[in-house]
Amino acid sequence: MVRVNVGLLYSRIRRDEKLLLSELRDRGHEVEKIDVRDVAFGLSEPPEALADVDLAIDRCLATSRSLYVTRFCDAYGIPVVNGSRTAELCADKVKNSLALHGAGVPTPRTEVAFTVESALETVERFGYPCVLKPVVGSWGRLMAKLDSRSAAEAVLEHKATLGHYEHKVFYVQEFVDKPGRDVRVVAVDGEPIAAMTRTSDHWLTNAAKGAEAEAFDLDDRARDLVERASAAVGGGLLGVDLMEVGVGDDGEPDGYTVHEVNHTVEFKALDEATDVDVPARVVDWLEVVAETAGTTGGHGDEGAREDVDDGEEAEVST
């Protein structure tokens, strides 16, 4: 086995990072923890802590930092998981939806409007309920299910008046009548490591909102969508979120829709809900990426660019 010098870019060590650190160290890899709050990134030379790493792992909690540090890694020629293009396509819900739709992956109907008036027209056209989401955000925060015109008017006015400029990008999405749960798949380059359902009485079923997690066996249709959704954003270590649609009396869905792909995926809940040793599987893959990057000089980005340009599935450089 190749011993890898890993640079873990972080600003907070969650349980997920702790699991990853433990697995990496147990296998004898060198791990340099790099708190991105403590370093500055120059245009040509990497910060000292990053200079000798074979592979950087972006585990920044803040999306803004994630976007920049992955770009800096590119500039320094340091292979990084996930790549900057993947980060860009996952960090912003508009870009994420465009990438999924462009790759032919079923995703909820979505429109983006830039004024309260045009957003309200979209909402009225979608009908009630529909959903308003922030373009950047996670853990189910600042999501609004709009049940009426008066609710829509109020939420849009608040966003326009009180929000950061990004909140004036109104991301309106159809409300998908899912069966009280969604499906989270952690995958590496489109290959599922494990999957779970997240069940809640609330319309939001994020684990961070307290949804109950349970292991889930993916069928071939879901596996195919995970592979294609991963390719659509350039591959990597990803959390692909699906909803079952058209669930019949037998509990079987007609199909799935992919509502989101996450690039700094949390996996502690999946590790607890399933029999799969998720961090071990992640590190198995990281070892392959590091070994491949040693000969190819990068991961994922070229494929992502190709995919966005021509709508074909990406070649991922592992």
């Binding site: 990072e17 909690l61 803040a62 999306t63 950047v136 959390g239 996450n262 690039h263 995926v265 949390e266």
Partner: protein, 61 residues
């Protein structure tokens, strides 16, 4: 001989001594048992805690 005494640090808010997990990492968040506040481990030698940053809008996965 290994030191078996528990790892402790002062709670920067309450001043109380807090027991920490043996495998604690710099950057990890500990909940203050007294106040419930999130405390960040900022060093291990010596072990030092400070109030963790407030949740930012772009945090997540």
């Amino acid at each position: 001989m290994a030191d078996d005494s528990p790892l402790t640090a002062e709670d920067p808010i309450t001043g109380e001594e807090i027991e920490l997990p043996a495998d604690v990492e710099v950057g990890e968040i500990i909940d203050s048992p007294a106040s419930g506040a999130e405390l960040e481990v900022v060093s291990l030698d010596p072990v030092e805690l400070q109030e963790a940053p407030e949740l930012e809008e772009d945090w997540g996965e």
